[in-house]
Homo-oligomer: 192 residues x 2
DNA sequence: GTCTATACGGCGATAGAC
DNA sequence: GTCTATCGCCGTATAGAC
């Protein structure tokens, strides 16, 4: 399915992505990165200036992929509700959480505009897709005419991100599933 | 308002709470703790066995406080919707996030049953309060008879936690406010 | 491009004096 | 109970050979 990484640079980015997802910025050491990526230390410092530089490249890759997945999901055929539920019900490993959302938990990333940018952009794309779908549904009579698309879009995005937190606290995917199902049910009830 | 910490033990717990909230488990070093708490290193290792022991005490304190706040909020007078919105609209520093929810982002805490327990218990308390309020509202005719209280409770809890993530990604409290307002609007629309 | 060697500070903890 | 000293390891690089 997935192409195996080719050169050192590519392996480093993929290794960093994995470690960032699992352990965050502080928890991800350069040593762990080159070891996990199967390249030498000298090679890493040849391709990247240092940890922040490599992390930025990894973040951009993760953001790019998530944005592509989001757009693909919302470009599918179907009613507004179907597209929204398709996104919310996508296969996710709730206990792993979101590779992009995880990043902003660390203050080093939250405080640095450049390191924060990929996450900001990704959630902006998600929000835009959700707003469009909600407006479509409102225009088609699927949702109440007074449904606030902008706010509801933030609600739905938050349910996914917060569902991860609840899942990790219980070490079970169930709270995540419940949160998403509950959000979709509320959306169905908002049909007049 | 708040009592200043008295003894070394107390100061250590409060200092650890702050650092954990801000920087998570990996990002919080014993050295930073005793420095921030204004006690000596030897004192710290006299009162606590090591980092996990001290972190557990700090977690329990944060969990205890959050649970007390939750119960107080839901014990107020008013309709079910009023109690729920009172909780969702509580003054929060959205950019700081949740002192309890932050903990489970770190794998060291998520993987350790004892360190995870305070967070698990806190979200269980929140879920229970939300379910009770939603059932009350349903019985009083405030919400649709087929509203699923258990799932909706998880949805509302997730909106708050996920709202923090969106806020940090944008470095603004606005996405958090939108998410909460959107959730309350959905709840109001689910009234038949 | 990739390698090994080296550096310096911080982490997490222990020892033992006071 | 609190203090300072010390420890071994790791984080985050830099240097210079190959």
């Amino acid at each position: 399915m997935t192409e195996p990484p080719r050169d050192a640079r590519e392996r480093l980015i993929e290794g960093t992505r994995e470690l960032l997802w699992e352990r965050g910025y502080v928890g991800t050491s350069p040593t762990a990165i080159w070891r996990a990526s199967g390249v030498g230390q000298g090679s890493m410092y040849h391709h990247f200036q240092g940890k922040p530089d490599l992390v930025l490249a990894a973040e951009q890759r993760s953001a790019e992929q998530m944005q592509r997945d989001i757009r693909a999901c919302f470009a599918q055929e179907g009613s507004a509700y179907e597209r929204i539920s398709a996104y919310l019900l996508r296969e996710r490993d709730a206990l792993r959480g979101c590779p992009v959302g995880r990043l902003v938990a660390d203050p080093e990333i939250a405080a640095d505009g450049r390191l924060r940018e990929p996450a900001r952009e990704t959630f902006a794309v998600l929000h835009e897709c959700l707003v469009s779908a909600l407006e479509d549904g409102r225009n088609a009579g699927e949702f109440a005419a007074d449904l606030d698309a902008v706010r509801t879009a933030s609600t739905l995005a938050a349910v996914v991100q917060g569902g991860y937190t609840l899942a990790r606290a219980e070490a079970s995917a169930e709270p995540y599933e419940r949160a998403v199902q509950g959000a979709l049910a509320l959306l169905r009830l908002a049909d007049r």
